[in-house]
Symmetry: C2
Subunit: 631 residues, 2 copies
Amino acid sequence: MFPERTAVVDTTRSPYARLRPIPAGAVRLEGGFWQARRAANTAAGIPQQFDILKARGALENFRRLAAGIEANTEDFVFRDSDLYKWMEAAAYALLDDDPQTAVIRARLDEAIDAVLPAQGADGYLNTYFGNDPSRRFHNIAVDHELYCAGHFIQAAIAHHRVTGERRLLDAAIRFADYLTTVFGPGLRQEPPGHPEIELALVELYRETGERRYLDLAGFFLERIGIADFTRFEGHAVRAAYCAAGATDYFLETGDPRWRDGLERQWDDMVRTKLYVTGGIGGRYRGESVGTAYELPNQRAYAETCAALATIFWNWRLMQIAGEARYADELERTLYNGALAGVSLDGTRYFYVNPLADHGQAEGDPWYPWARREPYQRQTDFPCNCCPPNVERFLASLPGYFASTSDDGLWVHLYDAARIRWRLADGTPFTLTQHTRYPWDGTITLAIEPERAAEFTLYLRIPAWAPAATLTLNGEPAPGAAPQPGRYLALRRTWQPGDRVSLALDMPVTLLEADARVPETRGSVAVQRGPVIYCAEGVDHGGADVRFARLDASTPLVPHFEADLLGGVTVLDGAGWLLADESPPPALYRPRGQRPPDVLRPARLRLVPYYAWANRGPSSMAVWLLLDGSAK
Amino acid sequence: MFPERTAVVDTTRSPYARLRPIPAGAVRLEGGFWQARRAANTAAGIPQQFDILKARGALENFRRLAAGIEANTEDFVFRDSDLYKWMEAAAYALLDDDPQTAVIRARLDEAIDAVLPAQGADGYLNTYFGNDPSRRFHNIAVDHELYCAGHFIQAAIAHHRVTGERRLLDAAIRFADYLTTVFGPGLRQEPPGHPEIELALVELYRETGERRYLDLAGFFLERIGIADFTRFEGHAVRAAYCAAGATDYFLETGDPRWRDGLERQWDDMVRTKLYVTGGIGGRYRGESVGTAYELPNQRAYAETCAALATIFWNWRLMQIAGEARYADELERTLYNGALAGVSLDGTRYFYVNPLADHGQAEGDPWYPWARREPYQRQTDFPCNCCPPNVERFLASLPGYFASTSDDGLWVHLYDAARIRWRLADGTPFTLTQHTRYPWDGTITLAIEPERAAEFTLYLRIPAWAPAATLTLNGEPAPGAAPQPGRYLALRRTWQPGDRVSLALDMPVTLLEADARVPETRGSVAVQRGPVIYCAEGVDHGGADVRFARLDASTPLVPHFEADLLGGVTVLDGAGWLLADESPPPALYRPRGQRPPDVLRPARLRLVPYYAWANRGPSSMAVWLLLDGSAK
């Protein structure tokens, strides 16, 4: 184990990064919100996923290739990437104390033993296209060869960083070296159809110091033309992976043209194409973000991988200058759009994350095979990209908690955790967070530098906390006025034993969307702390909560329910449900002639959106009509 | 020419039909709204479509098959049906006076000469599957063989009825006879995956009197199980074709189980899944009607074929008892959702009919081939089902104007027209409509029975006309109180020279949708007479009219513009446009903290929805926010 080296994005020497990584292995989650999620991932999700990948032939594909048996072209062209993502997850999981890690380690070795012998002598590796060079790179735009290569490289880097072993990394280097002989100026020019290789090549440059990997990443990004994009558009996962890779490239090269282009895209995303859950992808067709304000609730696509991709992107944008707006968006997605992608027990997944659902089966007499059972998470999917992606992210999550910079220490995420690392000047420190976040906004931070040291402690004040307060060793901190949506900078000579207590207010907030979003007019989404809430039919006698009305004049009262959904703060309030859910006599009526809906008063209970669909099929709604809006 | 026999649905002897057809050939459109549409169809659309079908190889496919050349399995499996629909259109177009009819006749003969030699000795005919019996009917659910057969039979019946020739009809009979040897009790049991054959077989039964065709239609419908359906769901075109075929079957057999099932489906459609334009299909995926209230505007699918399919269905439902509710829905779709499918000049078509559009190109850097140019009608589509479907419908439209029954004469549609036919007792009559409908609600009907005759004149009073009035020979008609959404029954002894003047009031009506439709809250659609209106950016300096606000306190004033869009009544009113269309600073804000949109007062002009996108790319919106709703 080499926890020292387990940065998820190693900006240690990146010239255009203000933030430096605190490795995943230096952060220990201690009994709070995320440890439960991560434990389920390690103990159940990752082991199960290996069995699924095996059953789907992901290892067998490599063994066939190594044995010279004809490639399995019946499988998805991107199947290898599922296994690579799982390998990355498994590597990070080894940082855990869980007794399952021994099993995971054995399975990881089994996977590596299957993968490596399949690699061609020239470094190429892909089980779909095999090792006949004449079959390679026929259709860069669709064949996912570079995408798979990227995931291979990322897995290899993670494996090397966690275990110190080189055999996977060396294979990745051989593959990357091969790619530099195929693509580049004077060579093949086509841009990758599914970005991912760019992220991997920049990280491989960081890992090896070999400039040619960075240059190849830059070549691909130039060919895509991302620096000149004016909008964030098209396939959601690809768009966000590409932007993340371009941000990596900027962190190493600093060309302002890239940053401007990325800023335009980020701006377009958060101002016109982002769900309140942090999900992206308003359109099933092409798995696309669609056009501005195209954010249907029930027909949200909001692929789990896309939510993860924006986390990857926001994390990289944060590295540039430590801007809290990126951390705010990262947190929004983390607790909502991304976390909804996995069940509480860590074994079932959503690919698509709607913001409303009727909770029933959907039939089509003409496509009986397309019948949709009531919407629930599944253990896997034919196109199984999301489950191992969630798994690798949860396994690496400790690496997203904090950073250093030349002048100090940054805390991005709040949860019960202990961080042991060193300041830029080498001073070792321990930072311990005591908190019940996200259910309670009080965070006590114990700062233990090995010796007194002057530095700035940057604490993120989320944009949703309008009235945060802070004490230092029990006293008001001079000059420390928390501002929402900023990092609070506390510069002083920190002594072992210093205590900071941050109280983030967590008002229950009713959010409105811009009026240009067609579906949310007259409705509100409810947020408390970083958590977006929803109503579920199961809490309302099976009523269709899509048609619930919220009484805005009755407060929504937070209440922690230890035995519900793994322990959640629910919000109890009042409103109305439809007294009669049968269809209206007429769908369209002259204005003023529409009979008011017949409503029945009801207690309403809201639960965290991420926890929905853990209690069987049920209707669900994030956006709730306000009482006066549409009765 | 045999105009006597050109019923579009021949219920002359149907035991469970109250209405009897007045053939298309007995109705002459005279210089009004529909003649212009129909003339463009005959003079331009139908000839152009033949060239397109030829260019796409639709005729060549038959010639290859006849010549024993291998079948063209590169083409769509349903390509033959495009040609058959065109042949049906061409046959009905021959009823016109247009000089193009000679050309159309020659091309129709060319098509028939290509098709007939390809038919197998056993009667089977399909260019995709060829004449090797071992290739047939492998996958009934997806292969469209029965769908193509249905269109062949329909084309053959139309050709026979219009021209009196038998060669196409005889071929259709051979094909149908063959089908009776393949499907049925004790034979193949699979239901057709795309209904259409059912309509054709019932009509072939009506044409030939051969019960086995009716029985086979019933067998297919029983296998589909439509009588037991509780909802209208799935693929929109299939669902409506199936329901139309089942209605035909009911008209012949009278089993109340069928009528109950159809009533449930119709009810579900009009109360939960119908656009205000009469379009159906809220979901791109599976071209499906989606779930209740799933009616997005910009992402409406609302296929032109689906609108036509509901017209076919409503027409058949009308035959049962002459219920005006079906005629109201037929008219809604006719003037709006269906007519929008073709350009004013008859040569360009929509497959998908959105109710809002941004008027711009849509890009996807990852799928450059999926780039969407600004949304405009096209001359054809790779899957070219809609254009010839519109063409056959417009060509046959005169057959939808009026009916007889044992007790009288029914007028369903209003337009300048002359109808020469006979009452149930054989008395010849001429009925002439003078009107500027749909722009003006005054219709003068001249009734000229050859001799005085007692019968009931049934005049449709549309549901949108709350205060219609009527005079008979210039005097108030005793006992004749028009009721909206009913047929007004005028029973008397009619004399040659009698004149009825019907004044349908055409208030400008703001329609609201049920609050359960997510996208239309706070918005209204505007209707005058049967016409649904929209705003187009081209009339508003290029503004994005999706974000326009209508001032409900300023009347929308109708004004006929002879030189605009072929002559339309526009509605001029007032409201606001966004002063700044750039994205909002934040997409989500705490309730009460959202800054009001900055609006600029503007004159608003509404044009008929069917006529949108005839003046170049432009934003468009049917549903308009009301001033007070979302500022």
